[in-house]
């Protein structure tokens, strides 16, 4: 005899009550749609920022960088016990701090080549020197590279604003400078710079190209021929500071790096490890932003609860009469749950549409690129994924549904006799 019947009449009563109070309903729907819109836009913004950063890093950073830093087995404790006896470890107090150089690099390359997933191995000499132009002098990080190999590592020729990257091969005194350094030194194509070498000598180089990657750390640098860098740094021709690697499968770069470390005993860092601090900063900011936006939706949820509570309070008599006409408890609950759901779904759909517009608009906003940030971009990078919408909508709907349960159940529990007699 007892059936939970959901029928047309219940839906009809539910929506009629809702549309009877147009202004309040519209306000609540706006609240939810704004919450959903802000959430989606925030996710898109944060995701887009992180994604564009990662994209740029992946484009411009080598997959794995090998540095001259030796892997040392560290002794955890100077006192240790073994087979019942206590031993004391002595570490030589005065230890010569080795320069972090990869020596005899052709042998190292030979070893790395055993790792079949490594596609390209490029030698690099990185050295910090003083550059002079006219009366200006400025520290400059010079990277000595082999252009052909380097291009295979990061497709560097795509970043050239003027000049040709491959020219470096044939120009022993050529230098390709990043836009940031170029403007700091106020130099342009064809200018002649003076570089003070480690040994104190001065070498004159010619600017044969200008590049821009959008990442300030890299645009601060300048590229020269490998041989020139070795000379300036005072290295012999088989000494390097770094080796850049490109692997076939980027997702397995960490495993490759670890196995190379074992083979050659030099530190190997993947691009994620190199950029880890920046990426984790982005992720932390994202979490904070999401947290704030969650509260926006939570507040919208209170709006839903508010609409339902006022609807229930103002409808005491109607609820009593519906009960006396033979509506069961569950059906009364449904009348108000439907109102909550309806408001939430309409709000979520509108919010998604608004968010689409918002993402488009935000994506076109011009921003002045900052010189100090880690990446430069002339507009906001917005991410886009169906999951933003699914996530934000379901979050809003769940919050609204939770907010609806209390008032709906409250309505179903009202005692019609008290109300019909005018006791409430």
């Amino acid at each position: 005899m007892v059936k939970v019947k959901f029928n047309y009449t219940i839906g009809n009563i539910s929506l009629r009550q809702l549309t009877y109070r147009k202004r309040q309903t519209i306000l609540t729907i706006s609240g939810i749609s704004l919450g959903v819109m802000v959430l989606i836009s925030a996710i898109s913004l944060m995701d887009g920022l992180l994604q564009s950063f990662i994209d740029k890093i992946v484009n411009i950073a080598p997959h794995i960088v090998i540095s001259g830093e030796k892997i040392k087995t560290t002794v955890k404790d100077t006192l240790y016990q073994a087979s019942g006896k206590t031993y004391i470890n002595f570490i030589k107090n005065v230890e010569r701090k080795d320069e972090e150089i990869i020596k005899n690099y052709s042998r190292v390359i030979y070893l790395i080549q055993k790792e079949k997933t490594v596609n390209v191995i490029a030698p690099v000499v990185s050295v910090n020197l003083i550059a002079k132009f006219g009366t200006l002098s400025q520290p400059l990080e010079l990277l000595g590279i082999s252009p052909e190999l380097h291009d295979k590592i990061v497709k560097f020729s795509d970043n050239m604003i003027s000049g040709k990257f491959s020219e470096l091969e044939r120009t022993p005194d050529g230098l390709i400078i990043g836009t940031t350094s170029a403007s700091d030194l106020s130099v342009k194509m064809g200018d002649k710079l003076q570089i003070v070498s480690n040994s104190g000598g001065v070498v004159t180089v010619r600017i044969i190209g200008v590049f821009s990657t959008g990442i300030n750390d890299i645009d601060n640098n300048a590229y020269v021929n490998l041989r020139l860098a070795q000379n300036l740094a005072g290295y012999s021709s088989d000494e390097l500071t770094n080796l850049y690697l490109r692997v076939t499968d980027l997702s397995k770069d960490a495993a490759v790096a670890r196995s190379i470390e074992k083979m050659i005993n030099y530190h190997a860092k993947t691009w994620e490890e190199t950029a880890a601090s920046v990426i984790s900063l982005y992720k932390m900011i994202s979490v904070m932003v999401y947290f704030l936006v969650f509260f926006v939706i939570l507040v919208a949820g209170f709006g839903v609860a508010n609409v339902l509570i006022t609807n229930v309070l103002e409808k005491y008599r109607d609820i009593a009469i519906l009960k006396s006409l033979g509506f069961q408890r569950n059906e009364i609950t449904w009348i108000y749950l439907i109102q909550g759901l309806f408001v939430a779904i309409i709000g979520a759909v509108l919010g998604c549409l608004l968010a689409l517009v918002m993402i488009k608009v935000l994506g076109t906003i011009k921003i002045t690129p900052s010189k100090t940030g880690s990446i430069r971009s002339d507009r906001l990078q917005m991410g886009m994924s169906i999951w933003y919408f699914i996530f934000a909508s379901s979050f809003a709907i769940i919050i609204s549904l939770v907010a609806s349960i209390g008032p709906s159940r409250g309505a179903s529990k009202l005692n019609p006799v008290e109300i019909l007699r005018g006791e409430r």
Partner: protein, 236 residues
């Protein structure tokens, strides 16, 4: 002899309320037993606080007795749970209250249709036809699409009566149906009840303290402190 449509056996109703001085038990109906016959037009009268409204709600399955049994036809409604009572109220009973209690968002026609559609006793089309017929029976054929706030008090009460008849109730229960109306409209409502009783054989129980109104019914049950003080059969 016909079976009674409503039968009360030693019905007792005690209200328990909590106050500062502790729990107060207030016995409204100590021990009531009587029958209501098919086709009877009964008035329950008595001073306020005599328990007449409580009695009506008990007979209407809106409230449950503290002890004793209430039968509607053969169903023991005093034993039923809330949801079963809801089905009985929808299918077997019609209610008219002092205030009309129409749903403000719905037209007169829709208000009359709702009880028919609530439990699916009638289909949409059938319900509409029935509602039209009922509204013309109460003289409101012109007002089908009017919202309650566009109707006068008397008209609203007539819509409520049409609604109470929606599912062909076994008995129509009315609680001070003219309590809020002027004498002209009261007379109209009274005539309507009388006509329903005489022409359709509709059983009706009315709670009223309008002596004039009560005197025109078939039977007056006069309550005093929850007991039957007088049980007068007026017409037969």
């Amino acid at each position: 002899m016909q079976k009674p449509i409503i039968r009360l056996e030693h019905v007792c109703k005690t209200l328990i309320s909590k106050s500062n001085e502790g729990i107060i038990e207030n016995t409204i109906l100590p021990d009531l037993s009587f029958n209501i016959e098919q086709g009877e037009f009964t008035a329950i009268t008595g001073p306020s606080g005599s328990g007449k409204t409580t009695l009506l709600y008990l007979m209407g399955g809106l409230d449950k007795p503290s002890s004793g049994k209430i039968f509607l036809n053969d169903w023991e409604i005093s034993q039923m749970n809330e949801d079963e009572l809801a089905v009985i109220r929808n299918d077997k009973l019609g209610f008219v209250y002092q205030f009309h209690f129409l749903l403000p968002e719905f037209s007169a026609l829709e208000n009359v249709m709702i009880p028919m559609l609530a439990r699916g006793k009638f289909g949409q089309k059938q319900a509409k036809e029935r509602a039209k017929a009922l509204l013309s029976q109460v003289g409101l054929y012109e007002k089908l699409s009017s919202k309650p706030n566009q109707l006068s008090g008397g008209q609203q009460q007539r819509v409520a009566i049409a609604r109470s008849l929606a599912n062909e109730p076994v008995v129509l229960l009315a609680d001070e149906p003219t309590g809020n109306l002027d004498s002209h409209n009261s007379a109209l409502i009274y005539d309507l009840f009388k006509r329903l009783n005489e022409e359709n054989g509709q059983s009706i129980i009315i709670v009223t303290h309008d002596e004039h109104f009560a005197s025109k019914t078939d039977r007056i049950l006069h309550l005093l402190d929850g007991r039957i003080d007088k049980d007068q059969v007026l017409h037969n």
